[in-house]
Every structure is written in C-alpha cells, then in structure tokens.
C-alpha cells in the first residue's frame, strides 16, 4: 500500500483543464498552450499525451503561416517528425520484451489506429509523403489524442479529486450490496433479543473471509477492503465522518439486524486505521448520551466499583422492546469493540499477518472520549468499567481510580437525583485549574525566550557604526512559519 507520489509538471487539475481549453476549445489560444507546455518541459518529464499534442499542434500552426506556401519541405518534415515522435512515444513504453515486438501489435494493444504506424514507417524509411496526407494525418492524430487521451484523463483525474466522501460512501454501499445480504446470518437473529446473553459469542470471532481467501468472493471482499483502506489513508477526515455515518446507519435499517451489521463491518474496522474506530465509538457514545437525555425511563445499573470482573452483559437489566434501535445498536457496537479490543499497539500490518482479530484501542483514548461527552451518564460509566475490564492491564493505573471515583460519585449522586453535577464539576474544576496553571507557565517561558531572541538580534545589529554601508543580503523568513508543501506559498 505504500506508493510513491509522482511529480507532475502541472500544478493541479485546473491548470490541465485550462490547457485543454486552450488547445481545443479556443483555437486562437493554441500558442499560449504551446508556451505552457514548453515551460513544462523545462521542469522535467511531461506526460506523452501533453507533449505530443503540443508538437502536433505546433506543426499545424507552422503550416498555416503564409510562408508555408514555399517552404513545403520543411513543413512536411515538421509534420513527419511529429508523427514519428507521437507514435514512438506511445508505443515505446510497451516494448518490454527482450526482442522487439512489431509496432502494429502494440498499436492494437493500446487502441491506436494502425494508420499512424504505417505513416510513421513511411516517414522514417520511405519517401516523405505528400503535404496533404501529412496534414490530414496530423489533424486526425490531434483528434485521436483528444478522444483517447485528454478526455479520459481529465475525467479520471476529476473523479479522483471529487468530493472524497462521495467516493467513500459509494464504496461502502458496494460492500453492503455485495456482502450484506448473506443468508447464513439468518439463524442467529432471534437470539439477539436476549439481553443477558453476551453478544460477543465465540463464533463471531471467526472472520468470514480469511486474509488469504482465494475464492472469488473472498478476493472481491478483500479488494473492497483494501480500496477502503486506501481511501481512508488518503482522506481520513472524510472517512471518519461520512464513512462512519453510513456504517452506523446500516445497522438501524429495518431489514438489517444489528448483529449482521456488526459482522459485516467489524473486519473492516479492524483493518483500517484506528481513528475510524474511534470515530465510530464517538458516534455510538453520542447516541447513548442523546437517548439518556430524552429517555426518562432508565434502568439503573447495578454498580459496584469493587466488583470489576462482572460480566459485561449483566449490567443491563432488561431492555425495553420499544427501545430506540439506534440506542441498542450503539450499545452493541460499543460492547463489541470493547470486548474485542487489544490494548497493545499492534499495527494493522501486524494484525493482518497474524490474523489477529482485534481493534486497536487504548484505554486512555476511550476514557478521553467518554469524559469529553458531558455529562457523563451512568451508561457511560458502565462502558468505562467494561473498558477497564477488557483493555487495561495495570490495575493501579491512576485513571482507574479516577473512573472508580467517578462511578462512585455519579452513582451516589444519581441516587439522590439532585445536584448531580455539582461535585463532578468541582473535581473537574480542580483538574482544569492545574491544567491551566501549567499552560500559563509554559506560555510565560515561551515569552521569555522570544524576548531574549529579540534582544540578541538587536545586540548584533546595533554594532553597525554610522559610516558602514548596510549591505542587504538575503534574509530568512520572519514571523510565523509552519511546514507546508513545496509550491505552496
């Protein structure tokens, strides 16, 4: 999956489109286009399509000048060498075998009319063809380039740059359509309703398609997965919003059970960067918080901080059948992810190799997620305890204590159902105070350094005496500077 980017002579797609317009839509601007292509050639390698178009068009323009009437040999030579370069340029890269393959065969392979190959042969080895033959061929060649190179290229690059979320959604839809409607999941549906059962049954563990599955389905599955992984690498943000939306909403559809949705997307999430899993978790947690706010009826969990080895599922005492499907789906997701998470920093590459089924998720990040959503609801604390059970390895982690205290606080407070948030915010306030104090310290230090630098600079420049000629030399950029790509101001 590691690819090197290629250097291209044009700045971006817009410039290429401008070039197209100059070449084909506005015949008067063809000289501008040629000048730009000349500028490109000084940069490095120019794609053949662009270069050949420029060469052919410049021969055509040479032809239309008034002096063309007399200097026909030069014009014919110009045309013929542009045809030769055009044919060679497109066919040479395909000449990969040890012995030369006939050019006609190569032309068939890429879809170039063999008329050009024949003409090239004539130009090289036989007598120079007539001017009108060459003229006609050149215009045909430009037209061929337009249809077979420019248009598809612009379209392809345009697609690539298209709104990334659309592509992601499209891709996930594909996945759903191809693999979502699998009959073998039907039998497990009715057991989904029993809340006391652990959703995470052992047979869920087995991946539907192993990594090296060579059946047609398996290959297609993994191809889509790899494509999604690439898309996520390229535009993580878009994936985390649009992609996660569609993954989540798939489980709430009428015809799809939550379990099936989990089964479908769980390998995908394990394969992709963990930021997506985080985003999904965040979404689910938000969902839970939302429901808590709107739903008065809530089964209060049995919460005892000391018994940290409770099984996860018993925390939920019953579930109303009329409960919001979104809420239950979220809960399922959270439980599933937490119980399958491995807190080791396994990279996706490692996981692929050893076929480890696990979400890379750290306790800290989950706790941070939970605490960010305010107010921390009892449900969240359940999840925290669940996370503690599955994720963390050291029992005397300070966060543990924090979570426990929180749990205590909230439990007690919610028993009273009054002034619930008071002590919490106090504790939070205390932490927040410390935090802000350290930030202030750092700022003060930075300020001191900046002033010191200023003084130093002044000290060196002030050693100039009045008679000195101030020579202005190159200076480094002043002011704020951040890392940015070459070419960007």
């Amino acid at each position: 999956m590691s690819r090197h980017p290629r250097s291209i002579p044009y700045r971006d797609l817009a410039e290429l489109q401008q070039l197209y317009t100059w070449f084909f839509d506005l015949p008067d601007d063809r000289m501008k286009a040629i000048s730009l292509v000349k500028a490109y050639t000084t940069r490095g390698h120019v794609p053949y399509g662009i270069e050949c178009t420029a060469i052919l068009v410049s021969s055509i323009l040479l032809d239309s000048a008034s002096a063309a009437q007399e200097n026909t040999i030069a014009i014919r030579l110009a045309y013929s060498s542009s045809i030769i370069r055009f044919v060679n340029g497109f066919l040479d890269p395909h000449q990969t075998t040890q012995f030369a393959m006939p050019l006609h065969a190569l032309a068939l392979k890429i879809g170039m009319p063999t008329m050009f190959v024949e003409l090239r042969h004539a130009c090289t080895h036989e007598s120079l063809p007539r001017l009108d033959v060459l003229r006609h061929a050149a215009t045909q060649a430009v037209e061929w380039l337009r249809c077979r190179y420019w248009k598809p290229e612009l379209e392809r690059l345009g697609d690539a740059q298209k709104c990334a979320p659309a592509r992601i959604v499209e891709c996930i839809e594909n996945l759903i359509n191809m693999f979502g409607t699998d009959e073998s999941d039907e039998d497990s549906d009715d057991t989904d309703d029993d809340p006391t059962l652990d959703v995470t049954r052992p047979d869920f563990e087995a991946a539907k398609y192993k990594a090296n599955d060579s059946s047609a389905n398996g290959r297609a599955y993994w191809r889509i997965l790899k494509l999604l992984a690439q898309l996520s690498e390229q535009d993580l943000e878009a994936f985390s919003t649009a992609g996660v939306d569609i993954i989540f909403s798939h489980g709430i559809r009428k015809d799809v059970t939550s379990l099936r949705s989990l089964k479908l997307f769980s390998p995908l999430l394990q394969y992709i960067a963990s930021a997506v899993t985080d985003a999904l978790l965040k979404r689910c947690l938000e969902e839970v918080v939302k429901s808590y706010k709107t739903n008065e009826q809530y089964y209060f969990p049995v919460l005892e901080p000391s018994t940290s080895d409770e099984s996860a599922s018993i925390i939920y005492l019953g579930r109303d059948k009329s409960e919001d499907p979104a809420l239950s789906h979220s809960r399922n997701w959270i439980r599933h992810i937490l119980s399958h998470a491995s807190s080791g920093p396994a990279t996706t590459a490692d996981a692929k190799e050893k076929n480890i089924r696990g979400f890379s998720m750290s306790y800290m990040s989950f706790v941070t997620l939970c605490l960010r959503l305010s107010p921390p609801t009892p449900t969240l604390l359940d999840f925290l305890i669940l996370a503690k059970k599955h994720l963390s390895s050291r029992l005397n982690d300070p966060i543990h204590d924090l979570v426990d205290t929180y749990a205590n606080q909230v439990g007690i407070l919610y028993n009273k159902v009054a002034n619930g948030n008071l002590k919490k915010t106090k504790r939070r306030g205390k932490d927040a105070d410390e935090l802000s104090r350290t930030i202030e310290n750092i700022e003060r230090k930075a300020e001191k350094i900046v002033q010191y630098e200023k003084k130093r600079k002044l000290a060196t420049t002030s050693t100039l005496k009045p008679g000195d000629k101030v020579v202005e030399s190159w200076t480094l950029l002043d002011g704020a500077w951040s890392s940015r790509p070459i070419g960007v101001l």
Partner: protein
C-alpha cells in the same frame, strides 16, 4: 582440514578464533599474574555470559559451544571445547576483581594458524570473514567512548558507519591514505551504500619512544584500564576510534529507501556510531582494497608526481614537458572516482613524510577538477568545480556534497554532458584557464612557480559523441598521465572501443596511458543501490547540510524556513536575474510555472559582467529573465555558490522563497563585494524526498489535492519511472531484433 559437517567446522572455527595453544603454566605468560589487573579488559555490562563470551569484542560469534569449568578459587582455569579439535583457553582471574582476563600466547603463533583455519570454513559457514584482526583480550579495549585497537603488522579491519580515527603508534592506511602518529583525529565515513574502507595496519612509522605512547594512551582511556597499557605497548600499531555524530546518521529519516546504511538496526544497546565488521553474510559488500594492478599503478603514478614536485631534479623533469596532470576516464561505474580518491590520498599523505620533511613545499596540496556532473566527488550534482584538497578523502561522495573545498565552480545545470556538449566543453575550458592562471605555488625561494598536481575526473560517456568530447577534454587539460579504467580497449570482436582507443593514444602523444581493470572486477561487485538512488542521496545530503560535513536530517525540507529574495526590477533586488538554460521563448505569464518548485543554481556574477547580462522581461512586476546567458561572461566573473530550491513565488510582494544550504556568510560576502546574484534553472530534477516526507495521506498534513506538482493518481502516458528507484520503464537502448540474435 578437510570439509566436515558445518556444525563441527563452525565450532572449529570458533575455537580457532577464540582459543590459543595450550599453555600449561601461567609462568610462560608474559604478564604478571600476581597483578591480575595488568591485562584486564573490561567485561562490558551487556555481556550476558561473561565466561563464555570473548571479552570486549562485539563479534557475532557467540561462543555458545564452549563450555567452561569455572573454578573460582584457583588462578588458572581451563576451557574445554567439544568438537573435533581440542583447544584450551587459559584464564587467570582474581577473586576480588570484577574483570576476567583472557591471556593469549605470544604473537608469532597466532596469525598463520588462525587464517589457515578460518579460510577453510568460509564456504560452509555462509558468511565471510573480512577482518583479519582477531579480538583477544590483549589487543582490544572497548569502552563507551572510545575503542582502542592494537594491531600487529599486516592485519586488517573493517568498520562500518562513521567514526574518527587517530593513530597513536605506527601507521595505518585507509583508502590508500597513510595515516601516521599524530594528535589529529581523521573523520571516516563508511556507509554501506558505497565500498567500505578497510583499515590496513602497515606498521611502518616513525619510531616513537614507548614513553610517549604510554602517555598518549593514558590520556585517552579511562582511568580504570590504565594498567592494561603495558600490554598494548608490544604491538606495532595502535589506533583509537571514537564515535562521530555528524547528523548524517539520520539520513534514513529523509531518504527512506536507504535504511541501515550507517549502523545495523538490532543493536539496541549500541551507543556507538560505528560497527566493527568481523564477518558478513554472503554476498559480502564491497570493500576498498586496491587490487594488484591498481596497487602497482598507484605507486608508479604517485612516485612520478612526487618526484616531479619534490625531487632534486625538478628542473630536469620540467624540461621534459612533464606536467603533474592526471586524467581518469572510462565508462560509468568502472571505478574512476574510487581510483581518483585512492590516488589523491596517496599523494596527500606522501608516503608518510611529514609536511616539514618534504622539501620545497609548505603544505601538501593538490587540485581536483570535478568534471562529472552526474555523480561528482565534490559538490552537488550539476556543478563542475575546481577543488583544493589538503586532507585525505575518507568518505564517499555524499559526504563531500557541499562546495566547501571549491575554489571555482560553474553551474552546468544538467546531470550528463550529453544534454549540452558544447556548453560543457566551454566550462571545462574556463576551469582549466582558472587552473593555469591562478593555481600555482611558489617555491620557497620564490624562484619558480610549481604547478600543483591536478587530477581530472571525467564523466563516463565513452560512446558516440562522448569520444569527441573526451578528445576535446584531453586537448584542453593536456594531461601527462591518462588512466583508463574499464574493459580492455582493444578486443578482437568488439570494435566499439576503437574510437576511444584511438583518441586516448593519439590525442596527447607525450602522455603515458595506463589501462586498468574496473574496480571489483573479481565478480564480487554488487551494487546494492542503483546509481539513481545514490544521486538522490547526494542531492539530499547537499540540501540538508549545515556546514562542512555536518547535517540536519531531523526535519524534512518542507519544514525549513526559506530565504526571502526580492526580484523586482527596481534597484533593491536581491537577485539580479533568472536564466533558464536552453531557453525557448516562453510567455511571461508561464515563467512562474516553469521555475516554481525547481532546483536552481545560485551564482555570483561581478557587477561589470552583470551589466552586460540584460534582462529580457518587460515591466516591473515580472520575473527578471535574462536573455543572454552567463556562459558568455568571462570565466573569472562568474562563480557558482551552490544550489537552491525555489519553494514558492509570491507575485504580490515580488519575492521568491528559496531553500538553500549556502551559508548566509557566503551570500553576504558575495553581495558585499559588489557582486550580483543570478539564479539559473537547468534541468536538475527535484528529488522526491525534498517534496514529500513519506506520509501516505499528503504532505505537511495537507491532503493530496492541495499539494501542487505531486500526484498519487496514476497518470496515463507519464513516465512510470518512480521518483526513487523502483521499477522503471526507461527508454531502452538494448532492444534487439530476432535477426540480430540469430547471428551470434
């Protein structure tokens, strides 16, 4: 020893390495056993099994097969090894010491047996021994800060990485540079991208009294090991190796395809910047050990040069029209640069004569003219330069990438002379005239001028027009010695070299022509990295330089602050003009598209010459493009300061943002001597690592669609040559027709 089972012979090898002949009594040992610390070598804290391991060595040979019987109370311990041969190691340990002492027997019994046994196991062991230096308790001292090696005459040692070496007693030669006793530390760079230099212990040096050596040693090593000094004094050659951190060890952060070039990855505890190689897995990397033919030739040539410059009959040799100029030519990758380096080193270090012992000279210097724009030994690629060398060259070309040695350089702008042969010859001419006019030294009595020896390195273009170019170069430089390195000039079947042979023999009839076989001709040559990768590494080493042989690879170039350079046509422009080589009329509005994000050469032009080079552009707001090129100016009016990258063009404030490693002092010095700065754009490619930091999702945390001039999408019809190495589809010159094949 006949071939035997691998395991047994491995054991035999290990035993040969570790053990010595049986010694019954400790009295024969020339070390005072009563003072057990006399030959103490420290057990490094990382040794897991002190008894079984060789003390103090980093060899990969773990003496796991050796079983020990440790009797702590007695002085003598024996080590019995299971295997075909039985050897014993004698220990002498004091009960109150933390150290273990490994006593070896006297020297004359050691080397021949060792090598004889070792050579028998090379094939079976699947690894090759490359150092004949065998670490024992007595000849090696390794601490965290220094390593002390004691050689006997004729041993050799290979160290990979970067280090500083100082000779305390005797003399060694690295890359044909003879280093003798001195207080000076020489920096050596030995990455695995190029041939790794071998340290040869020659042994011939000035006689230094033992007391002085002892004092030096006492100063160098930590206090607790000073009793061991007595043991070191018996050896002929003693050197000290120190770690060196110049910043180039982080090269792999930027050039991500050159991993583990400086040190190996698995030494997590390794605090040193170098690694001693005793054995390497097959196929072995290439080492700089001059072969037979080269050795002789080097000696003859350097003798002749030395005679010319320092001998008593200087007048006589001058009358014979002998000029100390050597031209090295041959096809690419034959070893021209290596030969040039070896020759330079052997001339600089002048057979061990101290500078004050060489008559008629104050310093040992020579001039190196670098005419290979593709892979130059000095400077970045694309620049032709004249360099003065006064210290041995102990590192590959990428450690000499800055123009700090250069007296005069020109920005040629192409990586091969094939792209502009006529301009190339003009630059060669200019450099030569600078040498002729400005680079002479006077004898002590100011009587005569003596020419500094000149070594000319040529590009590897020996076919077609290259032969003609070579002929012109020979005519301009008029060398007295021509060295050709490559396949034999006249072969029965191949007549492609006929032109070359003719040119070399007849152009300069007074010159002596030597033909040498290419380097590494014995078939062991394995170029681990393609030449394109090395060129890219050299350019990156240039741009990340922070001084002479120091680098900063911690940040990618996209994070470096650029210089702000004003270009307006008014009076206070920081840059006088921009030229584009091979300039065809490009519309003004497209000039920015041509130079934005490219590598340009930065040259200083004298004010008079700058007046003659006019700007072609109209209007104040446009980039000042020159229409007459700098090549037409006089040779002494132009000097190239280095290369830069135009990072961005700000049309509003009329400034260019330029990244360059040229020090501000150099630019200031150029500008204050009323010179004008000119940028010239040739065709030097921008390496991918300058524009991309290896992040898959974009550059500098921006997604790909916001990054100009780079694309991750597949582009039809683009050259699929990957930016760095990899599978490439080149323009092929070797496609055959079937009819051709049948003939042979």
């Amino acid at each position: 020893m006949k071939r035997s089972r691998p395991q047994a012979s491995a054991k035999a090898f290990i035993s040969a390495f570790a053990a010595k002949k049986v010694k019954k009594t400790p009295e024969n040992v020339p070390i005072d056993v009563g003072n057990p610390l006399a030959t103490a070598t420290p057990t490094p804290p990382r040794t897991q099994n002190p008894e079984g391991r060789l003390v103090g060595s980093k060899t990969a040979i773990a003496t796991k097969h050796v079983e020990t019987e440790v009797v702590t109370e007695t002085v003598t311990e024996t080590v019995i090894q299971k295997g075909e041969d039985e050897y014993e190691i004698q220990y002498a340990s004091a009960s109150d010491s933390d150290y273990e002492i490994l006593i070896s027997d006297s020297e004359e019994e050691r080397p021949p047996n060792l090598i004889a046994k070792v050579s028998d196991v090379i094939d079976l062991d699947e690894s090759v021994q490359v150092s004949t230096f065998a670490p024992t308790g007595e000849n090696l001292l390794e601490t965290d800060s220094v390593s002390l090696f004691c050689f006997s005459r004729g041993q050799r040692l290979v160290i990979k990485g970067q280090y500083s070496v100082r000779v305390i007693k005797g003399s060694i030669s690295i890359c044909s540079a003879k280093l003798t006793e001195s207080t000076e530390f020489h920096k050596v760079f030995a990455p695995s991208t190029h041939a790794i230099p071998t340290i040869f212990a020659d042994g011939q040096g000035k006689d230094i009294p033992n007391d002085r050596v002892r004092n030096e040693l006492m100063e160098m090593i930590p206090f607790e090991f000073t009793p061991a000094v007595h043991g070191f004094l018996q050896f002929d050659v003693i050197i000290v190796i120190k770690s060196l951190y110049t910043g180039i060890e982080n090269l792999e952060k930027i050039c991500q395809n050159l991993k583990n070039v400086w040190t190996s990855p698995d030494d997590g505890q390794n605090t040193r910047s170098y690694e001693v190689l005793y054995r390497v897995p097959q196929p072995p990397p290439v080492f700089v050990t001059p072969e037979e033919g080269w050795e002789t030739r080097l000696r003859i040539i350097s003798q002749r040069i030395r005679d010319f410059t320092t001998g008593p009959d200087v007048m006589k040799s001058r009358s014979e029209e002998f000029r100390p100029r050597i031209l090295i030519c041959g096809p690419k990758s034959a070893g021209k640069s290596t030969f040039a380096r070896l020759l330079t080193n052997s001339l600089i270090t002048s057979a061990g004569l101290a500078p004050d012992e060489i008559p008629n000279r104050s310093t040992v210097e020579l001039v190196y003219m670098e005419l290979d724009p593709g892979q130059p030994e000095f400077g970045p690629s694309g620049v032709l330069s004249l360099n003065v060398i006064d210290s041995p060259m102990l590192g590959p070309s990428l450690t000499n990438a800055t123009l700090s040695n250069s007296l005069k350089s020109f920005h040629f702008g192409y990586t091969t002379p094939r792209d502009a042969p006529q301009d190339y010859i003009r630059y060669v001419d200019k450099l030569m005239s600078h040498y002729n006019n400005d680079l002479h030294r006077f004898t002590d009595d100011n009587a005569r001028q003596i020419e500094l020896p000149l070594i000319v390195n040529t590009p590897g273009w020996t076919k077609g027009q290259g032969v003609e170019v070579l002929r012109q170069m020979i005519g301009i430089t008029k060398p007295s010695i021509i060295v050709y390195i490559g396949p034999r000039l006249v072969q029965p079947d191949m007549d492609t070299n006929f032109e070359l042979a003719e040119v070399l023999r007849t152009t300069s009839p007074n010159a002596s022509l030597s033909e040498l076989a290419p380097f590494g001709d014995s078939g062991r040559k394995s170029a681990k990295y393609p030449a394109a990768d090395l060129r890219v590494a050299q350019t990156m080493a240039y741009f990340h330089s922070t001084g002479r042989q120091t680098w900063d690879f911690c940040k990618p170039l996209t994070a470096w602050r650029p210089y702000i350079v004003r270009y307006s046509n008014g009076g206070d422009a920081d840059v006088h003009g921009i030229e584009i080589l091979g300039y065809e009329k490009i519309l003004e509005q497209h000039i920015a598209a041509a130079i934005n994000g490219t590598v340009v050469g930065i040259s200083a032009v004298s004010a008079d010459a700058a007046l003659k080079i006019r700007s072609a552009s109209t209007g104040d707001s446009s980039l000042p493009i020159l229409d007459t090129s700098t090549i037409d100016a006089d040779a002494d009016a132009v000097n190239c300061l280095g290369l830069g990258i135009i990072r961005a063009i700000d049309q509003d404030t009329k400034t260019l943002h330029i990244l360059t490693p040229i020090s501000p002092q150099t630019i200031f010095h150029a500008v204050s001597s009323s010179n004008k700065i000119i940028l010239s754009r040739g065709r030097l490619p921008l390496p991918i690592w300058a524009a991309w930091d290896g992040d898959q999702s974009g550059v500098a945390r921006r997604p790909w669609r916001e990054v100009p001039y780079l694309s991750v999408d597949e582009i039809i019809g683009a050259d699929v040559r990957a930016a760095v190495g990899g599978q490439s589809l080149r323009f092929r010159r070797n496609v055959m027709r079937r009819s051709q094949h049948v003939r042979t």
